[in-house]
């Protein structure tokens, strides 16, 4: 009886591999999610100490949070570190701007004064944990509203100062001196790199390309008069243009057909009443390096969105598995000796997997021959 349930080696390898793959990708998502959960729980513990959050398996990192900070006002050391961090973040923004503008040959990437990167550090005159120290009041009210009140005028940022309440003497202009200089130098390198990009290598003119240095005995390619990279770019552009031309032609054709149909039925096409496509409008910002925003107004909304996204992912996976199972299991059923009890059991199992997602089983009634 059990022999009916065994599968051929070939299909079983593939099926098990596919299912294991699906299980692994699920596990990977779960791992990432749990990493984020640990961080979020830890952060919230300071605001909601009374709430019993989910048990934390790794209590190690949290002990730092509970240890009282040395003073309510951050030390000059902390402020200097924050300033260094601000500079690094500013540099990151600049380099990113440099990357996205290098193609246009823009020689002067401007510092985005309202940039996200610089803001967190500048707000940090008082770390949020101090409000918790302030007393049990913190657990009743929403503490962070009161804390970070200092508003840094953004035009001060290029001077690399942190404005803290009455403590400007601590600002390390001396101690942090080496860092800003190197930062500036790197920025200049980036700028010069970006500005030189349009001047492509013209090695072919100079007849260079032969390895002549002693350490590098690369085989010398024979001189060619056209840069292969240019060729490839050109070729790629040509191919793309050709294909796009074909697509556009088809779309226009279809559009014309639709227009005639609509006009026949409804009258002339109304101007300017196209439904607003939910285009991510980055307002001109490069969507890749500075990600666009997703605005939500309640936790419920966020949860619905996240749940739907997971559901779509799950459906994609289910459809893929369904196709694989169909391809492997249906031939199996058709090849077997029909109508014996083992075969019926196999059919029942296959039906469950293919038609009910493995969740439900059907009942098979068989009429026994009368014993007389």
């Amino acid at each position: 009886m059990d022999t009916a349930f065994t599968l051929l080696a070939g299909s079983s390898r593939r099926l098990v591999a596919e299912l294991r793959d699906a299980l692994d990708s699920c596990a990977e998502r779960q791992r990432q999610l749990e990493r984020s959960l640990r961080v979020s729980r830890r952060l919230l513990r300071a605001w909601e100490p009374a709430e019993t959050l989910a048990p934390e398996p790794t209590p190690g990192p949290e002990t730092n949070e509970e240890a009282p900070s040395a003073a309510c006002i951050p030390s000059p050391q902390d402020l200097k570190e924050l300033e260094l961090l601000t500079q690094a973040l500013e540099k990151a923004v600049r380099v990113r701007k440099g990357i996205s503008k290098a193609g246009e040959g823009n020689k002067a990437p401007s510092l985005k004064s309202g940039s996200i990167a610089t803001s967190p550090a500048t707000r940090a005159s008082y770390p949020p944990s101090t409000s918790h120290r302030a007393g049990s009041r913190a657990s009743e009210t929403k503490p962070p509203r009161g804390i970070l009140q200092t508003r840094v005028p953004t035009k001060d940022l290029p001077e690399r100062r942190l404005l803290s309440v009455g403590d400007q003497a601590c600002m390390g202009q001396g101690a942090g001196a080496t860092k800003p200089k190197s930062g500036l130098r790197n920025e200049q390198i980036v700028l010069s790199a970006a500005s030189q990009a349009p001047e492509a290598f013209t090695l072919k003119d100079k007849g260079v390309g032969k390895a002549s240095g002693p350490a590098w005995t690369w085989p010398a390619p024979p001189g060619s008069r056209v840069d292969p990279k240019d060729w490839m770019q050109e070729y790629r552009c040509l191919l793309t243009l050709e294909e796009l031309q074909a697509i556009v032609g088809q779309c226009l054709h279809r559009l014309r057909e639709l227009c005639t149909v609509v006009e026949q039925q409804l009258g002339p096409w109304p101007e300017g009443r196209f439904p607003r496509a939910s285009l991510p409008c980055g307002g001109g910002a490069d969507p890749i390096w500075s990600p666009q925003l997703l605005l939500y107004s309640s936790t419920q909304e966020l949860q619905t969105l996240a749940a739907l996204r997971l559901r779509v992912a799950m459906l994609h996976q289910q459809i893929h598995l369904e196709k694989v199972l169909m391809a492997e299991l249906l031939p199996l059923v058709s090849k077997q000796e029909p109508l014996g009890p083992p075969w019926l059991a196999l059919c029942r199992a296959v039906h469950s997997l293919l038609c009910e997602g493995g969740q439900r089983f059907l009942t098979i009634l068989r009429e026994d021959k009368p014993a007389d």
């Binding site: 793309t240 990600p291 369904e322 059919c347």
Partner: protein, 366 residues
């Protein structure tokens, strides 16, 4: 090898350095990039260069793996993963698939494969984008990334011999359970994020954001975390600068790789044609599917920003719009799944045969 007459404008020493510097820039921008010397050895097909190139290709083709996870793959598993990934992407040369699994040979073939990958698209930039430091709490609004990257074959995938169909049923059940867990964890994470966002309202100097993200809150709480973030940003800066250097210098590399060699040039050309064809086919499919262009469906990671109810908010996607788009996607996919299941039901009914065969009683609750 006669010397060509060189114009004196370019210092010969600079010219000789140009190629290793170009390769060094490329190597720095890629994960696990080997030294220029290794590239040189690979070109001559020296065996000592092969392992480094296998490792490089593994990291390049599976960028979604964290450093720790990729280290857990044995060299053989890495080799097999690279072969499979290249096959999936349509790499045409069979010689690579025939290289031994122990990773001891094939430097030259691997170098060619790398060049093929580089020619198809902006590979260093894509890798940088994928691994960039994120300051905000980001959530992708589509599943394209997850679907596009086939996971690497699991290290221990051997099903020994035949497998019982009940094992498959068990695996399906396990999968269902994992999805349920995932859903629950995701809901919890959203609730926590919502709280953090509303508690830190007013703390961000960027008015369009208004509140802090988890990373930013951590930054303020924990100086050690701030230092780590600083280090990560510095590393990323270094890679970004290397990427710029690479783009400045890559012509030298291509001359060296391709210059005059017929078969390699046509391989690169074929690669381009395929890549363009694939991109446009995807675009066409997206246009036909759902009756609209793929632009109508929001894509990519977005930074979460909590707004006050009723406030108009600035530029950006609104959650209700994304929810709408996802709901219609969900409905479409459910239809497809039901259709497939219906097909199976009919097929099985046909195979089982007409009465007087056994009677099938379908499960209740449908």
């Amino acid at each position: 090898m006669g010397r060509r007459r060189r114009r004196r404008r370019v210092d010969p020493a600079d010219a000789a350095r140009a190629l290793p510097e170009a390769i060094a820039a490329l190597s720095q921008t890629l994960p696990a990039g080997p030294s220029p010397e290794t590239f040189r050895r690979a070109k001559f097909d020296r065996p000592e260069a092969a392992p480094a190139l296998w490792r490089l290709l593994f990291r390049v083709l599976s960028p979604q793996l964290a450093d720790g996870v990729s280290a857990s793959f044995s060299p053989e598993a890495q080799v097999r993963s690279v072969k499979l990934a290249l096959l999936t992407q349509g790499y045409p040369r069979r010689a690579l698939a025939q290289l031994p699994d122990d990773g001891s040979q094939g430097g030259r073939e691997l170098l060619l494969a790398l060049a093929w990958l580089l020619a198809r698209g902006p590979l260093p930039e894509r890798l940088l984008i994928q691994n960039r430091v994120q300051l905000g709490d980001e959530m992708p609004v589509c599943e394209c990334e997850a679907l596009a990257s086939p996971g690497p074959p699991a290290p221990s995938v051997e099903a020994d011999g035949c497998v019982d169909i009940r094992h498959l049923q068990w695996l399906m059940g396990k999968l269902r359970f994992r999805w349920r867990n995932l859903m629950a964890s995701q809901q919890e994470q959203c609730a926590l994020l919502g709280k953090i966002h509303s508690y830190t309202r007013g703390c961000h100097s960027d008015r369009s954001l208004g509140h802090l993200s988890v990373t930013e809150t951590e930054l303020l709480r924990d100086p050690e975390g701030g230092r780590q973030l600083l280090r990560r940003l510095e590393r990323e800066n270094a890679r970004l600068q290397a990427a710029l250097e690479w783009r400045r210098r890559e012509l030298v590399f291509w001359r060296w790789m391709v210059g005059g060699r017929g078969p390699q040039w046509s391989a690169a050309r074929t690669a381009l044609r395929e890549a363009v064809g694939q991109d446009l086919a995807a675009l066409r499919q997206a246009c036909e599917r759902g009756g609209g262009c793929s632009l109508a469906q929001p894509h990519g990671p977005h930074r979460l920003v909590r707004t006050e109810a009723g406030a108009p908010g600035g530029p950006g996607l609104r959650a209700p719009e994304v929810i709408e788009a996802l709901r219609s996607q969900e409905a479409r996919l459910e239809v497809v799944l039901r259709q497939l299941q219906g097909q199976c039901r009919q097929e099985l009914a046909r195979l089982v045969g007409a009465p007087p065969g056994p009677v099938w009683i379908l499960p209740p609750g449908r």
